[in-house]
Amino acid sequence: MKKQIEKNIKSLLHSIWKSGDMAISWTKTSIPGKRTPFFIKNKNQIDQLVFDTFCAVSLATYLTEFNRKEILPEDFKGKLHITCKPCDARSVMQLFSDMQVSEELVNLIVIQCDGIADESKLTKIMSGYVSNIEEENDRFICKGIGGTEKSVPIRDCWLDKCSDGKNCDLPYYYGYYFVGNETEYRKRISNLLHTKTDLVQDTMSPKELKKLVNKELSSCIRCNACRNVCPACFCSDRCVFEQPKVNVKYLDSEDASKNNILYHMIRFNHVAPNCTGCGECERACPMSIPLSMFYKYFNRLMWEEFEYKPGKTNSERQKLLSYHLGEDLV
């Protein structure tokens, strides 16, 4: 099934490829279970493309970095094809509606996804060493130390967002290619979307919550991985945390957890209106801080207060920047 999807992506790319195009997709690395983003700059590289259960990196992040890096090749004159899982597709939509990327530039290829596994979770289950991973139905067959084999259910390695399923819906957009069976996909996610999850903010008193937040964020090393992989954080080198010319120094980098809390508070306050809940921050965090406890709160807030789901369409402006006189306030 997965092999078929991968084949279909390749043949789709072959058929729509024009000279001067570029594509962003995934490829294998020498480490079992790690997939890395892959920039296809000419047609004969298409066959190196890989799509399987481990393609966790959201490629929407790279669309935000055009201003920062010369990613596009010099002879680029066509379209940028980007392969996306549905959750990443919503991040791309949000970038469209925030006018960070031109719609004319990007060609969106949405891939049917049956849940993505986190390589680091699998490594943890295998106590740090995996020499080979094979996928069989809904299980991974992993080779550990000394050739011992272990079968791990894929569901145990899923990214948290996949079991949550709130952000699996497809965007309302006319111009994407869908690889896989769209009706089947919609059926799979339809009952996931309306599950209710309890958030710590509801169940805990401020004091308890403060304690929890303090504990979790005290391990933050301020590596900025959460910020840099975030598709909604598109300020790149102009980020408020790195502005030498800003006369208010918001943050001391002394790692005291008070400063870490301020770092994350400001970051979430800034991205809340366009956070699609893709979970990249949590996945990227090397200290495994459960950042989902924050973004889930803001996602729900946006829906409850403004009936607005970031990344749903390519045109709805984020609610905090678009007020017209006479509009209802809240």
Binding site: P37, T61, K69, G128, I221, C223, A225, P286
Partner: protein, 346 residues
């Protein structure tokens, strides 16, 4: 000095050591990850692969105050240099991290001596542990290191089934064993063989091997190649790799006020991957692109420290690869460098 430590005696050893020093050892955190933490009564994990987090943070702290100042009501300013004199014993450090601490020691005792770190090193006893298993990302053999290297440790331990084989390396370590000699047992003659057995089985399991030592002094020739672009396109320039690297030694110095008349001058980890790292006050940035920054990191590890200190500042622990959110593998970069160097030589 060779001894045996029965496994059930480990907890009594820790108890004894705790009497006059903080004991730091790998334990399981509530996030299901092995981390070096001050131990109380938790179970110490001295098996399996190396932990994801290195013990660097106990030598080179993420942030530390260098001096504190207070302003009295009379206007008098008093400055107090922070001077930690706490003794600490770090257990279960793997050979890669020991190499890293050794490197750090040399780095900070160069032309300008860093008294804060050297003092902390002096007050620490480092107890090493030979790796019985590698992790997926380990490549220490590629750098000429081995999973049972003892350099840098005061005491080396190795798992020998029912007991640990313990070897005192430095005077400090030997003294520690001497002070607790009722806990240790005498070792048998062929106990030393444990090390070579572990070495053999562990090295066999390491997935990646590429002879980096052959590239010594040659990595610089890849400076102008196009491999950097390939990886910098993907790199998101976070600092996860550098902050988790046991040999990354860069820091930033700043001042902060704690209240109206109190404050400190402190330093924190800093990373060359950050845009603001090399930003001049004029606004000019000599390493403004991601390509330059990525190249700096790799070149520094494999070329610049070779020029300056005649050693690689990479110990092959593979943590950078493990934490990279976009799956950039150091071994892959090294393979590409090797290709470039080999092609250049022909």
């Amino acid at each position: 000095m060779r001894k045996r430590l029965q496994k059930q005696k480990l907890s009594s050893l820790i108890k004894k050591l705790k009497e006059d020093a903080t004991v730091i050892a790998p334990v399981m955190t509530d996030k299901n990850e092995v981390d070096f933490l001050p131990v109380n009564s938790e179970e110490v994990i001295l098996s399996g692969a190396r932990s994801l987090y290195s013990p660097k943070k106990y030598i080179f702290k993420q942030s530390e105050s260098m001096y504190d100042y207070t302003i009295q009501d009379s206007g008098k300013v008093t400055v107090k240099e922070s001077c930690e004199n706490e003794k600490q014993i770090i257990m279960g450090i793997r050979p890669c991290d020991l190499h890293a601490i050794e490197y750090m020691k040399e780095f900070y005792s160069g032309k300008y001596k860093d008294s804060y770190i050297l003092r902390r090193l002096e007050n620490s006893v480092l107890i090493g542990l030979a790796c019985t298993e590698p992790s997926t990302n380990c490549f220490c053999t590629s750098l000429g290191n081995s999973p049972v290297d003892t350099d840098g440790s005061d005491i080396m331990m190795a798992d020998a089934g029912s007991f640990y084989f313990v070897k005192g390396i430095t005077e400090k370590g030997k003294k520690l064993i001497e002070n607790n000699k009722d806990i240790f047992e005498d070792s048998q003659e062929d106990d030393e063989r444990v090390l070579s057995d572990i070495k053999e089985s562990c090295e066999k399991a390491i997935l990646e091997k590429i002879d980096v030592t052959a590239l010594k002094n040659k990595v610089g020739s890849a400076y102008n190649s196009d491999i950097w672009k390939k990886y910098s396109d993907i790199c998101v320039n976070c600092g996860a790799c550098t902050f988790n690297c046991p040999t990354c030694t860069c820091f930033d110095v700043a001042d902060t006020s704690r209240s109206k008349n109190e404050g400190c001058h402190y330093r924190t980890w800093d990373t060359c991957q950050n845009f603001a790292f090399t930003l001049h006050a004029s606004g000019h940035n000599p390493r403004s692109t991601s390509e330059e920054r990525l190249r700096q990191r790799v070149m520094h590890k494999y070329q610049y420290t070779v020029d300056q200190m005649d050693q690689f500042s990479c110990t092959g622990c593979g943590r950078c690869t493990q934490v990279c959110p976009v799956g950039i593998s150091m071994i892959a970069i090294l393979k590409d460098i090797k290709e470039v160097v080999d092609n250049g030589e022909e």
